[in-house]
C-alpha cells in the first residue's frame, strides 16, 4: 500500500510542478469553450441547447492532451524499468498512475464546468447535469487513454497516433454523457437511463484499461 501511495503522490507532484501540464488541460478546455460562442454567434437559445455537447467535446479533447506523457515520460528516463521490478502487479501500478492523472487533469475540468456553463448560457440544472456526467464519465476517458498511452509508449511523437487510436473508443462515452446531460434539461427520457449506462462504461474501462495496459507494456518489452 505504501508503494502505491508513494506512486500516487509522486505523479500528482510531478503534474503540478513546472512542466507537469496539469493546468494545460483546463486552460485548453477554457479556450475551446470560450471561442465557440464567437463562432456560433450571439444566439442564446442555440448556445443553451448545444452547450452540454460543447462542454463534453471540450473536456474530451482536453483530456487527450497529457496522455502521451503519462507512460512515455517514465519510459524515457528508465523509471519504467524499475516500476516493472516492484513487488506489485503491473495492473495496479498503471491503475494508480491513471488515478493520479485523472485527479490532476480531469477533476479540474469538472470543477471549471460551472464557470464555463455561464459562458454558454446554461441554466443551473443543465450545468449541474454536465458537471455530474463529466465527473462520472471522465474516468472512462482516462482509463481508455491509458491503453493508448501504453501502446504508443516507445514512439517519439506518439501524441497524434494516440488520439487517433483512442477517440473512436471514447465515442460511446461521449454519446451517453451528452445524452444524460440533455435528458436532465429537456427530456424526454429520464436522466437516470443514459447516466447509468455512462457509469457502466466507466466501470468497465476501469477494469479493462489497466489489464490491457499492463499486457501492452509486457508485450512491448524491448
Amino acid at each position: 500500500m505504501t508503494a502505491l501511495t508513494a506512486l500516487l503522490v509522486r505523479d500528482m507532484r510531478l503534474a503540478v510542478r513546472v512542466g507537469g501540464g496539469a493546468l494545460i488541460g483546463v486552460l485548453f478546455f477554457l479556450l475551446v469553450v470560450a471561442i465557440i460562442p464567437f463562432a456560433i454567434g450571439p444566439d442564446l437559445a442555440l448556445l443553451a441547447r448545444i452547450g452540454p455537447a460543447i462542454l463534453w467535446l471540450g473536456a474530451l479533447l482536453a483530456s487527450l492532451l497529457g496522455l502521451d506523457r503519462l507512460i512515455a515520460s517514465d519510459h524515457e528516463d528508465g523509471s519504467l524499468d524499475l516500476i516493472l521490478s516492484a513487488h506489485l502487479p503491473l495492473e495496479l501500478t498503471v491503475a494508480v498512475k491513471a488515478v493520479a492523472h485523472w485527479l490532476t487533469t480531469s477533476l479540474p475540468l469538472v470543477v471549471a464546468t460551472p464557470l464555463l456553463g455561464l459562458l454558454l448560457n446554461l441554466d443551473p440544472t443543465a450545468t449541474g447535469a454536465v458537471a455530474l456526467t463529466l465527473a462520472a464519465g471522465t474516468p472512462a476517458l482516462t482509463f481508455i487513454g491509458l491503453i493508448g498511452a501504453a501502446l504508443t509508449v516507445a514512439l517519439r511523437r506518439g501524441g497524434l497516433l494516440l488520439a487517433v487510436l483512442i477517440l473512436p473508443l471514447t465515442i460511446p462515452v461521449l454519446i451517453f454523457g451528452v445524452a444524460a446531460s440533455n435528458a436532465a434539461v429537456v427530456g424526454p427520457i429520464p436522466f437516470g437511463t443514459p447516466f447509468t449506462i455512462l457509469c457502466a462504461l466507466t466501470l468497465m474501462s476501469v477494469v479493462v484499461g489497466p489489464i490491457a495496459t499492463a499486457a501492452a507494456l509486457r508485450q512491448g518489452l524491448d
Binding site: T2, R13, L84, A86, H87
Partner: protein, 201 residues
C-alpha cells in the same frame, strides 16, 4: 543462494546478440561481464532484470524468496537514472525506496553515504551526471535486494565515488549478496569471475 544461467540466447532486431551463455554464481560472489561494444553486455543484464525475454535457455535462482520472481529480487542499475528533474534529491530517493518495497529508512544518512547530503533539497534537474549516478546508487543501499545488476556502474563517477562504490559492493558481497556487472575497466573487485561475451567472432 545461487543464480544459474544455462544456454541463454537472445535476439534483438532480428540479430542474434549472443547464444550459449552459461554461468553460475553463489551468494557472496561477483560476476564481471566484459566484451567489446555491441557484444550484448547490457542485453544480458536487461534479460536478467526481466526487461527482455530470452530466445532460449533457462535462468534459475535458488535460495531466494520463493514468493518473488528473479527481477523482483534484483536491483537494476542501467544507463538511465530513473530520476525526475522536477523532484528534489530527497523526493526522488524517497519515492523509489517506498515504491520498491523498502521501509523508509533514514534517507539523510543514505544520502550522506553517497556524498549528496549537502544538496538533498536541490531539484534533480541541477545534478551533474556523476551526482545523478550517486543518487541511483543510493537506491541500492536504501532498499535491500540480494542481486545487484550493474550496467557500467562506474560511468561518470569520480575517483572518490568509484572507491565508495567498490566499498559498497564489497559490503554487499560480504552480506551474502550477488553482483553481476557489465564493465569496460576495473571496478575494484578483486575476486570476481569473468564472463567474456562476443569473443568468438
Amino acid at each position: 543462494m545461487r543464480l544459474k544461467a544455462t544456454d541463454l540466447a537472445c535476439i534483438r532486431g532480428g540479430r542474434q546478440v549472443f547464444s550459449g551463455v552459461n554461468f553460475a554464481i553463489q551468494a557472496g560472489e561477483a560476476l564481471v561481464i566484459t566484451g567489446p561494444n555491441g557484444a550484448g553486455k547490457s542485453t544480458l543484464l536487461r534479460l536478467l532484470a526481466g526487461l527482455l525475454r530470452p530466445l532460449a535457455g533457462a535462468l534459475t535462482f535458488e535460495g531466494g524468496d520463493p514468493e518473488l520472481t528473479l527481477p523482483e529480487q534484483a536491483h537494476y542499475l542501467g544507463h538511465q537514472d530513473a530520476l525526475k528533474p522536477a523532484l528534489s534529491v530527497t523526493e526522488n530517493l524517497d519515492f523509489w525506496v517506498r515504491f520498491l518495497g523498502g521501509r523508509p529508512p533514514d534517507l539523510a544518512a543514505t544520502l550522506a553515504d553517497v556524498g549528496l547530503a549537502s544538496i538533498a533539497a536541490l531539484p534533480a534537474a541541477y545534478l551533474s551526471a556523476g551526482q545523478r549516478r550517486r543518487l541511483s546508487i543510493a537506491r541500492l543501499i536504501a532498499v535491500k535486494r540480494p542481486i545487484w545488476l550493474l550496467d557500467e556502474p562506474t560511468a561518470a563517477l569520480d575517483v572518490a565515488a568509484q572507491a565508495m562504490l567498490a566499498d559498497l559492493m564489497r559490503a554487499h558481497l560480504a552480506g551474502g549478496g550477488l553482483i553481476i556487472a557489465a564493465v569496460h575497466g576495473a571496478i575494484g573487485l578483486e575476486k570476481a569471475a569473468e564472463l567474456r561475451l562476443g569473443g568468438n567472432r
